[in-house]
Amino acid sequence: MHHAHIDKFAYQDSPVHRLDSRVKFLVVLIFTAVVLSLPRTSVSILVCYAVGPFTILVLGRIPLKFAFKQILLVSPFILVLALSCPFYDRNPVSAAFGPFIGQVWAGWLRCFNIVGKFVVTMLALIALVSTTRFADLLTALRKLAVPKLLIIQLGFLYRYIFVLIDRAEHILRARAGRKLRSLGFKAELKTASSMLGSLFIRSLATAEHINIAMQARGFDGNWRCLSKLQFRRYDLLFVLVSAVFMLVLYFCVGHFLQ
């Protein structure tokens, strides 16, 4: 079972990991909103915004390679949309960067803007998730009035995704070992649906066992959590610093930079 191979960094310890998860969640949410509300052709200011999540990642000792790999993994859809911008918007705009002044298509500005916003907001999300244990994140969401049923559901999901993915990998390996060529659509479909069906039935059996075990231990539909969240002076400092960071960038630096 390869549990926690996605959020393996959440179990480290660092100043960022020790922050209250509610505070982190809200700050990241607001940061994302601020970045999204930037004008659609601004590019260079995005680099300034990137300093925030970058600092958090470095302080939280998250390898930057991991963060960028993760971003690359989820980027295809947005890259297609961003790269199609230059084809639809060919108005020449004079853009200047330091000593270089040149004519570019307006679409390129938008393209870089979209990619830049994507990278910055993704960095912020990765900074949140990889420095917060999922249980703490769930406690935070519960405190922020997310329904109990949904929280339990998310907790279960997180716990069993990796178990079932392992099982699916076994089934896939079994098929790969037996099927050495393409079988045609009908047979492929039939094989795949039997695989899905058997995975489904086995998942049901697992669910029944878990349910019996939970009932035996007195599960009554409530979610109890060991981690207690506390809002300390340390968290206040973090809020203040990030508020100042965003306000300065938005209202002061934003006036000079595009």
Partner: protein, 343 residues
């Protein structure tokens, strides 16, 4: 189909988040009456099942190299009921966002609506309305098939609409819409086939699970697959020809500014007071509020001057930001090394 943050403006993102949160709240309250506490483990595992099931891929016909996998929303809605199905799929979408970073945090509302709420309820009710009468294999088949295709298409249509409402669309709306519809027609079609096949398998092995939703015996006949392939081909062909001979003019507008008409403003911002207000706010606090084309139209000299000045500030900004990052990184490194040496 996962929406990214960048496809949305803040008002649209906030609005859809509010709708999704409200919807999920109501569903959870409703589900509490329907779902007993011993169903909770089942729902959790079903969510994980969806993840694992999406790994099981198979080759698609006529397109070597591509493979399809199931989405699972309609299957779950048929087996667990729409409320539980919607909660499970929404939780899958949330986990995809938080753990796998698939889809943005602010786009979560859109994603929950497009992939969770709409397919679950629409698919379930389409399936139910077709299978309401006495059992027939054909009706079950058509119900599941139409449920999957229409539910997934409905979710897919919402993506360009939300992007257009946000005004971030540079790609013409019609092109985006047709692309999404075309791709998801294929997805929905495969989904329908696999849903029927899996329902048939489950009914063979564990008839007690689907006893509420399936009365007779379902089976995927060769004829049914062939007929649906033919229907699919006809739909695709007619869609392609329609697209090839040019889309009707009424759809040929885009929310983005049109290059051929510089005065053509974004259509939607004037109509909706909230968005207009947000735009106004943005205009006031952003240095060069609109496209820089507008400034270059004002007169060449000023535009050049502005650009030179802006060029240097942006240069300074980027360099400063880069230097700060290097500084942070180096400091952290040095401090860390010191710590490890002391320890």
């Amino acid at each position: 189909m996962h929406m990214a943050n960048e496809l949305l403006s803040v008002p649209v993102a906030a609005g859809t988040l509010a709708i999704a949160a409200g919807g999920l709240g109501i569903i959870c309250r409703k589900a509490r009456q329907v779902i007993s506490s011993d169903k909770i483990a089942l729902m959790g595992i079903m969510g994980a099942f969806i993840f694992a099931a999406q790994m099981i891929n198979f080759q698609l016909p006529a397109m070597p190299g591509t493979s399809g996998h199931m989405v699972g929303a309609v299957l779950l809605a048929i087996i667990l009921g729409p409320h539980a199905g919607a909660i499970v799929i929404s939780s899958v979408v949330i986990i995809q966002c938080l753990i796998f970073q698939d889809g943005g945090l602010l786009a979560l509302g859109c994603n929950i609506i497009n992939m969770g709420l709409v397919p679950s309820y629409l698919g379930f009710f389409l399936y139910k309305s077709f299978t309401a009468g006495p059992f027939s294999n054909l009706r079950t088949y058509i119900g599941a098939m139409l449920g999957c295709v229409i539910a997934i298409e409905a979710g897919a249509v919402l993506v360009p609409i939300q992007a257009a409402l946000s005004g971030v669309l540079v790609v013409p709306f019609a092109t985006f819409l047709v692309t999404m519809l075309g791709v998801h027609l294929l997805v929905g079609f495969v989904e329908g086939l696999i849903t029927v096949a899996v329902l048939g398998y489950i009914q063979q092995v564990r008839p007690d699970i689907v006893s509420d939703s399936l009365v007779g015996k379902v089976r995927l006949s060769r004829k049914a697959v062939l007929v649906s392939l033919a229907v699919f081909a006809i739909v695709i062909a007619s869609g392609l020809s329609l697209f090839a001979c040019g889309f009707p003019d009424g759809l040929e507008w885009s929310y983005a500014e049109r290059p051929d008409q510089p005065d053509f403003g974004p259509m939607i911002s004037n109509e909706n007071p909230t968005i207009a207000k947000a735009d106004d706010f943005q205009t006031r606090y952003s240095p060069l509020p609109d496209y820089s084309i507008r400034t270059s139209e004002m007169g060449k000299v000023t535009a050049e001057e502005i650009n030179i000045a802006a060029g240097w500030t942006s240069f300074a900004g980027v360099t400063g930001a880069g230097l700060t990052m290097i500084f942070v990184w180096l400091t952290a490194r040095i401090l860390r090394r010191k710590n490890t040496v002391e320890a």
